[in-house]
Amino acid sequence: MERLDVLKTYKLYINGAFPRTESGRSIALKNTRGKVIAHICHGSRKDLRNAVEAARAAQEKWAGRDAYNRGQILYRMAEMMEGKRDEFAEAIRVTGGATAAAARKEVAASIDRLVCFAGWCDKFAQVLGGHNPVAGPHYNFTIPEPTGVVGVVAPDEPALLGLITLIGPAICAGNTVVAIASQKHPLPAAVFGEVCATSDVPSGVVNIITGKRAELLEHLARHREVDAISAANLRKNQAAILRAGMAENLKRVSVRKLNADDWHDADAGESPWAIEPVVEMKTIWHPSAS
């Protein structure tokens, strides 16, 4: 008899650990030929709330790290991804997220993007902020600060590059993240959780929930401890659900529209203007006359 595969159940990634969903639900994940290849957690509102709690608890310390240190940690995450290139590519391909060649290209682009944001950590503040020449004897400057806890809603495709493109700017700036993975192709996000767990990123900085987007969106949108949401390529009604959540606590909501080529375009994905939606500008005044 042929050896039986050990079917893996991929779990959530919350606060640096891999809990099963508290709901006990799972989703069978099939390959393109319809064969079950793994199970994945069908995350619930409670899981999402736990993730937000972890992200909130981790945020101040993460933001308080030196920008250089955050940059090194993001680079370490990229290094760990590099070691899992084949696993990522297979995770994208197996559920039909891309052809084998396109999946490899997506993995490479995702790693490069994370490296890019590793480099932005100690630079974007100089591009987005600055000194303001006010009229009068005052020294006045503006600096970007992290918004806080950022909800990320990854697009279905590209499952990995989409996720990294949205998470990268947020953690680069000192935010912590609760990400809802691609519903169609959740495996790459689950593998990314394993990358986070084995790199130096502190617990709670990145949290990943898998499951059904429609169930989770409203809870993310209405959560008062979520300070901003970054999403891409949502259907109009789903974007409206997120924006309606602004009325709860004035969370900042940015829903980007990117076509397949845009995701690979550095101008669209890697510019400091991708960081701007998840930072707050703080302006500080001080008299300069004695």
């Binding site: 591009v127 987005l128 600055g130 303001n132 020449p133 006010v134 009229a135 009068g136 005052h138 006045n140 503006t142 300070d227 109009k236 009604n237 409206a240 659900i241 924006r243 309606a244 602004m246 009325a247 709860e248 606590n249 004035l250 900042r252 101008d267 510019s271 400091p272 203007w273 701007e276 707050e280 500008m281 703080k282 302006t283 500080i284 005044w285 001080h286 008299p287």
Partner: protein, 490 residues
């Protein structure tokens, strides 16, 4: 010592050191009624409705203002939409010249605009002439210069105008808020439909005259006067590409909800309950002045007013005693008098709100110190500047935005406690810090969740300096390079 001496001297002379009235003598013309400013012309409202605008210091009716209805808003948006492509195509250096001209004419008509602002709003003439108007002119001048430099403002980007901007502004700084909204929008090649607050339309309509004087192309700015219903029509209009609102957090949330299923861009500059922190090593004379202007400037009708004074415990008694002295010297009265420090509350409605909070403070057990016991004028809307001591952070006066001359004084022991008290609010607009120790100041400035932090100063504004809030004080910035991004597509 000096104070004592001067007191003796005054007694010896047998007189009090009081000021003679010094009313502003410039008379401004006000029409009996005003239409809407649409497509470069004043037109009667298709709604056929008008409402009175009054002088809050005398309750006298100044004029009748048009109330824009659905068809009026429609016409204004259509005019803005029609004018936008040509405005955006103008050579940027030429577009700039229109804004420079506006700035110049505002400077030249400052006295008239300041008097009108004071009559319609109730703020002291010293403030409208020396603070509001110079900032209004400077705001247009600053943004004029951006018109031809936008491509350098955003590295790697090619900024484009958004289209038609719907802008809704409050009554506390009528002209200044108008400048904050119009100048960046116009500089970036957008056209505007703007609604002043219903109690303060007069200076907006005066600015429309300036737009005509300087030949601003018709439709580039359209002014629709009216109340909340008119504002809602702008927010809901499908041809409006961007909404910029300054006002209460409550209305801001309603606007966010109303725009949820649209692609409208949105910036909101909302309420605050800003902490003003005095450390024991502060330069106390200056800190007291800062605390006073922080809350009593513009009758406390300031979204970033320093309405929670947090004083280090070791100096609490001294600070309270000095505040008690200082508040007595504030002169409340005729806003057109050049010596007036505190003018009239803008409306009967706002006066009722402020009184409600003062009552709640007394009921909840806080102690009040008023500026004086003199009787209030018989006509007009007046509220004595006051502050509360014995305030608990859980009390309404310590939590909610009052938007009046009411200060809540509380204490703290350590910087850590100051931070936690200061940040314990859903708001995050501004904060003040008084200390002579640089490292403490920067640590506080870093950890305060506020969009503007004034160190050893308060209520400072400049067009080059971005203004706007964290958390429920809204999002987006106004002023500076960062303020431009709210008016471009990149």
């Amino acid at each position: 010592m000096i104070e004592e001496n001067s007191g003796l001297h005054a007694e010896a002379a047998g007189t009090e050191w009081s000021y003679a009235p010094a009313p502003e003598s410039l008379k401004v013309e006000i029409a009996e009624k005003y239409g809407l400013f649409i497509n470069g012309r004043f037109v009667a409202p298709k709604s056929h409705k008008y409402f009175p605008t009054i002088n809050p210091a005398s309750e006298e009716t100044l004029s009748q203002i048009a109330e824009a209805g659905g068809r009026d808003v429609e016409a204004a948006v259509a005019a803005a939409k029609a004018a936008q492509p040509a405005w955006a195509r103008l050579k940027p250096t030429e577009r700039a010249k229109f804004l420079f001209r506006i700035a110049r004419r505002i400077q030249e008509r400052t006295n008239e605009l300041a008097v009108l602002e004071t009559m319609d709003n109730g703020k002291p003439i010293a403030e409208s002439r020396n603070v509001d108007l110079p900032l209004v002119a400077q705001h247009f001048f600053y943004h004029a210069g951006w018109c031809d430099k936008l491509k350098y403002a955003f590295p790697g980007r090619d900024p484009k105008p958004l289209g038609v901007c719907g802008q809704i502004i409050p009554w506390n700084f009528p002209l200044l808020m108008m400048a904050w909204k119009l100048a960046p929008a116009l500089a970036c090649g957008n056209t505007c439909v703007i609604k002043p607050a219903e109690t303060t339309s007069l200076t907006a309509l005066r600015l429309a005259e300036i737009f005509r004087e300087i030949d601003l192309p018709p439709g580039v700015v359209n002014i629709v006067t009216g109340a909340g219903a008119t504002g809602q029509m702008i927010v809901r209009h499908k041809a409006v590409n961007k909404i910029a609102f300054t006002g209460s957090t409550e209305v801001g949330k309603q606007i966010a909800a109303a725009c949820a299923d649209t692609d409208k861009r949105l910036t909101l500059e909302l309420g605050g309950k800003s902490p003003h922190i005095i450390f024991e090593n502060a330069a106390l004379d200056q800190a007291i002045e800062g605390a006073i202007t922080g809350i009593y400037f513009n009758q406390g009708h300031v979204c970033c007013a320093g309405s929670r004074l947090l004083v280090q415990e070791s100096i609490l008694d001294e600070v309270v005693s000095r505040l008690r002295e200082r508040i007595k010297s504030l002169r409340m009265g005729d806003p057109l008098d050049k010596n007036t420090d505190v003018g009239a509350i803008n409306s009967a409605e706002q006066l009722a709100t402020v009184r409600y909070y003062i009552e709640s403070g007394l009921e909840e057990g806080a102690s009040i110190i008023n500026s004086s016991d003199e009787p209030l004028p018989e006509r007009g809307y007046w509220c004595r500047p006051c502050f509360f001591t014995d305030v608990q952070p859980s009390q309404l006066i310590a939590r909610e935005e009052i938007f009046g001359p009411v200060l809540a004084v509380m204490s703290f022991r350590t910087p850590e406690e100051a931070i936690s008290k200061a940040n314990n609010t859903p708001y995050g607009l501004a904060a003040g810090i008084w200390t002579d120790k640089g490292s403490k100041m920067f640590e506080m400035a870093k950890r305060l969740k506020a969009g503007v932090v004034w160190c050893n100063g308060y209520n400072l504004f400049d067009p080059a300096s971005p203004f706007g809030g964290y958390k429920e004080s809204g999002f987006g910035r106004e002023g500076g390079l960062q303020g431009l991004s709210a008016y471009v597509r990149m």
